[in-house]
Assembly symmetry: D2
Homo-oligomer: 304 residues x 4
């Protein structure tokens, strides 16, 4: 299932070390001039501010004429420049701990072992581009995610963290009851991000240990803010109440440890491996723009 | 969006004080003799063991002959017996705090104000029946949810809690990459339950504050258990790894407080209301069977 | 696949001799007072004007309050009154020629042999009710189907016919390119009607034998009618052009012959059967309201 | 709606004179070595045997390693080589008769006027590639389409025709009742092909004028062929009966006439235009491979 959304449908494709990653966006309204600088800025945030390499150049294949959307599918591809796939030969028959190597193998019987293949966070590049298009269609929304907490950063180790996100500008009445609740859709969108392991709206897990009197948001008697607290995160019965949408997403530590780790060989025996150096030890700082992108892709499907 | 699932599609219907609640199940294989006792047991758990009233009698409208499924849609209805809708007249123009009254009004312009209408937890009756059918199609799975924590129970107050769920018997290789990840689908399924406000797989939010060395599950070198810990909750890259699927769901306290509360009138003024007595103060004990039902509805869509 | 539509989703259920047939309609806007007389009139047309029996009484289970839609799922059931299932005992192991008996058996391994079960035209009762709701949401459209041709009616035989349909009031610009073309969706909707065996837009099969000069609709130079002919049936590139939508649907003769026919027994031998008397010999006069209903269900999914 | 299918999902993209056309195929099983020669042969048939130009070179962007599918999305693009977009400047504000120029404008407010843009038959290149992949997954099926009738070919005029298709190897029991009938899905698939204007299964429109005795296919008493005729086209109640699937598709004449035609200007006045010479006058010979491709894409969604 590589498609997200019903009305603004984003189908991503690509392995980290194949020819390209990219997406087709179906359902984008016609007549929008896409702000390509904003796309570049979003990709820059995802790179943690590192200079652009060839590997982040977006080629738009269809759906635009003179920079304006046609209402037809927007397709783009982003070449995987500096791929160095030979580095990965020794991984061909090994399942690293904490990665999807084993589960992809169990599901498909084969996999692209180079750099995580389809499971690589490189796929989120396509989400960031698509999310950026979505945001431009909803200029009334402010979607802002930041790192709320970072795990401990020890030498020769990795860390995770918690990202919080706040959306303002969403009017009351957006959402769908029962199975299309805002909180359910946001949860699914966020948990689809690589390394996401937890999601909570508003007061979240802490709410479970409050009393009802503490938890229930009281009417302010004002038009805005409509309640005096926002423990529910701006959603009641799956529908927005006009307060900011607030949620948090937990990300587990980077699974590629800067240590020798025991891998499981396809044959069943364990084999030590030193993955080496050029991997992120703390990826959570790159995540806020991905959280914002998925929030945008989630919300636009309610608003179009 | 009142339909859950793609292959085993459950469309629920009904307001708490309308004629009936129920569902249509499309995609149930033919030739299964439904265990009606198991359905009754599941509904009994949802009632916290209270004796069955007329309001829990399931009428099967279609899809079976002589108790065996035909492969055609299974439709059922459950009459809303003891509805006492007159109790609700004073609520017609009031939005209770902590409820979906205001958001439904904002979305639809009108609502069934009686007992929460469509937003009532009564709708979960249909999910429990459908979930029970799904479970019977996957006898190899053991799905067990229990209350892990309950909030404080003060006099004249309500509480919430945390439900944990564990699924064993799911082989490695179940799940879909990218947007159909097991964790994403389970998150959506759980967050669609009334009062759900948080979801986490495995170590969840605690994982965000571990180091990578602490977090990463190591291969055991054995066929089973395949790893020596299960911090990931049995899912890597969105696909099961053969370990138990483990997750937790946070539920906020019951929103109907046994106190006088200020309601928002449609006119904009605040108005005190005493909702009265016959409401649950702690609903979390009724939730495990709903969590199990949604887990079953989630998983069967990967397995059919 | 018992659901039709994406935005106005109709899920029908029921076997002809089970407890009930009916549907759940999801996506119906809130605040509409349903005209129940129009529903009765539509069912009357489907009965060819025969007096209403118990078997056509619509019970609305949910989604309305005081006759007004709530925006929540509209569920209804129609009991199968005079079912006489015992008449069908001799059919239990026989596959009639021209019916779906054999194919249902091949697909499901079992079937409800009584009166066609799920394959019975009785299922269209639910479509007519749903279609009637859809039409009330699009009062600007006039959808009119009539019998264009009826096959020969010989003694001891049955006939089919051709139904033509014309929709006026649809503005230019409705439809979706590529796979969601109006003609493709209408074709699917019409071919889902029992006994449908052909579909054509505008000049249809005759168009294939015209020259381009004959076929191409010329601009009138007027705002309306925008073209001087309508060979394309009001659709170009899958999108309406403002002319009437015109199409025709072919229905094969009634498969239940008023003769002794050879049935295939589950054992493989042939066995003569005389089905007897109370079956329609020419059902095509009942079909226009079904064609209109499906046209309405098709079009509303583009307009909501 | 640029996606076809639920299980084997093909999302096509591209305008005829943009950078590229192509598709993403989601749901293709892992481990299949794609026969690239077969892809070339299919594209050759679509070109009517003309030599390959740059414009038919398929670039595979993702989803394969060493020519074998990974189970992840297969993305490909086909550059639009010899596009000569300047030829089209005079068409920028004109709506040609018989084309989708006006309807795209009515829907989107703007369009790519060069060579039909998204409505161009060039988009079917992507369908042929995807269909070829689908066929390789169903080697047990023989899908063969041929031109059954061609319209008259006068000087300075164009023609259409009728394509017939026959699928053998499909076992009994494939299809879905009610809205997912084989005939309904095939009708939708075929009517999505540019210029398609009619569809019929088996005896089709002729069946409507037969008597029931003539129409009803009789059991042969043999295992194969199971009936002595195939007026139903191999489908009963939406489900295959083991006989060949047989259907016909009508295509209207090529809309680009080799004559001076009156175009509608955006301003509302009529304006003569001579489109000139390099267009097909009879495209129906290029259609059989497209019909086969769409038949394959339709059927694989029932078989996966």
């Amino acid at each position: 299932m590589n498609t997200y959304g019903e009305r603004f449908r984003v189908t991503t494709y690509g392995e980290s070390h194949g020819l390209a990653v990219g997406a087709v966006i179906d359902g984008c309204p016609a007549g929008m001039a896409i702000d390509m600088d904003a796309v570049e800025q979003a990709l820059l945030r995802r790179r943690n501010g590192a200079p652009r390499t060839e590997a982040d150049r977006v080629v738009w294949l269809s759906g635009m004429k003179d920079g304006v959307t046609l209402g037809t599918p927007l397709a783009f591809s982003i070449g995987n420049g500096d791929s160095r796939p030979d580095d990965y030969d020794r991984l061909e028959h090994l399942f690293r701990p904490g990665h999807a190597d084993y589960t992809y193998h169990a599901k498909y019987g084969l996999r692209d072992h180079r750099g995580g293949g389809r499971a690589s966070a490189r796929e989120t590049t396509a989400r960031v581009v698509a999310g950026c298009v979505a945001r431009q269609l909803m200029p009334e929304l402010a979607i802002e995610a930041t790192v709320a907490e970072t795990g401990p950063r020890l030498e020769n180790d990795t860390c995770g963290g918690i990202v919080q996100c706040r959306v303002t500008g969403l009017p009351a009445g957006v959402g769908e009851p029962v199975f299309g609740k805002l909180g359910a859709s946001l949860a699914s969108a966020m948990m689809s991000i690589p390394s996401a392991i937890g999601f909570e709206m508003g007061a979240g897990f802490a709410a479970a240990l409050m009393t009802g009197s503490q938890y229930v948001d009281r009417w302010s008697g004002l038009l805005s803010p409509i309640t005096t607290s926002n423990h529910c995160g701006g959603v009641q019965g799956g529908i927005s109440n006009g307060m900011p949408i607030e949620f948090r997403v937990a990300f587990h530590p980077v699974a590629t440890l800067p240590q020798t780790v025991e891998c499981l060989h396809e044959d069943g025996h364990l084999e030590p491996l030193d993955v080496g150096g050029r991997h992120d030890r703390c990826a959570v700082t790159r995540v806020p723009v991905i959280v914002e992108s998925m929030a945008a892709l989630c919300l636009i499907n309610y608003l179009l």
